[in-house]
Symmetry: D2
Subunit: 133 residues, 4 copies
């Protein structure tokens, strides 16, 4: 388990009260965890702006499965980039649409380039990359 250190942080009572309300309504059980999550998000945002840093990411894609070529093309793109693609999950959303999630690990610049290429593929209706850690 991770070690934990405790530090005194100064707050205006008003913002602390409002933040506690917000955290509780989001499901946080304690204030430290809510603050740590804000800090982690801020660190990840900074890291994701550095093209050379190594990160984990997920790409969410929605596409129409009646377009037979698209699955073939995406599989092809994934194999060409197998070095940074760890796994994928495919879900049938409705009669027309598939949702595919691709998990990446690699340099930000390589992940972004590969994700951009998949999103740009004709037939892909939606694509969004999340960089995490």
């Amino acid at each position: 388990m991770d070690r934990i250190i405790r530090k005194g942080i100064a707050f205006e009572p008003e913002i602390l009260e409002k933040f506690d309300e917000q955290s509780t309504s989001k499901g946080y059980k304690n204030r430290s965890e809510a603050i740590r999550d804000l800090i982690r998000k801020s660190l990840i945002k900074e890291k994701s702006e550095d093209m050379e840093s190594e990160m984990i990411g997920t790409l969410t894609l929605v596409y129409n499965h009646h377009d037979h070529d698209i699955q073939h093309d995406l599989t092809h793109l994934q194999h060409d980039n197998h070095g940074i693609i760890i796994s994928t999950m495919h879900t049938h959303m409705n009669a027309d649409d598939c949702l595919e999630v691709v998990v990446f690990r690699g340099k930000v610049k390589d992940i972004k380039k590969t994700a951009d290429g998949m999103i740009a593929r004709k037939g892909v209706k939606f694509g969004k990359l999340v960089l995490a850690q």
Copy 2:
């Protein structure tokens, strides 16, 4: 296959040229597809701000698997919300961390509430919800 209609759109030549460069560098094969993607993104953003609309979404979570309770708690949360959770994918990222992707379908307000509760869970180091379509 979807029908397609063609409409004349007026552009300043300068921005058209820059946009074509940007689209090409992102991997787009034609201008119409790049414009349609901007439009779809704009529609999805608006839809995701309406708490009552029905959407598909993915939640990306990173957590430390040495914390034995967390997987149990997340599974519990998922079963409590099985009506809006379609599938999950679990990936082992390194010696410590797991990445879990949860696929949702339901009302925006229900998806957000459930996702917030998972992100707030102690031990979850990162969480990000993407609403798609």
Copy 3:
């Protein structure tokens, strides 16, 4: 002056160290101020999603001043909405472009509607609303 209370917050040493580095590089003189800024931003984000809340905002507009009607139209729009517009600042950026900043105070829904109308005006090349406090 605002009262200040001090609370003990628990951190993993690793993220605290990285956050201190990030804060220092952004110019923060102490950790509490950097954490309070993350908290305030999180509260403002939540408030700005509530259409009925009262907020302050700024709208940044860029437009071509050779289009004589646009300034007239924007002034007209501003007078029609004088109840929520407090002030504006106009800056000549270069031979062609003007930057105009409009300061709003009012309900989020009214600010957004008025700002959207200005951004949509033909001739406005860029528009971005910031909701603050």
Copy 4:
């Protein structure tokens, strides 16, 4: 005035209809203007990620004017960076708070560094930089 060229763009009828609804509700008078605005936003986003590019920006700051040193410090910071600061506007929002808008022109890296330093200043309750054009 800018020249205009007209290009045929292919759309699925469904997304065109929804986009026309969205554009109308935002105040757009014609489809081309709404599409051009999406394109311009996409180009500005890309430009703002290049630290060496020259841009215009506005920084929105909220601070408590009872803190006498802050205005002095901000003025000082602004003079130290007069090369990239074009103008500022100060608005009294209520008994306690001032809103200050700073207009920048310069390299993205210089604008960001200066803006970060102002936002980090103790007493500044909110700060948000918008890069435009």
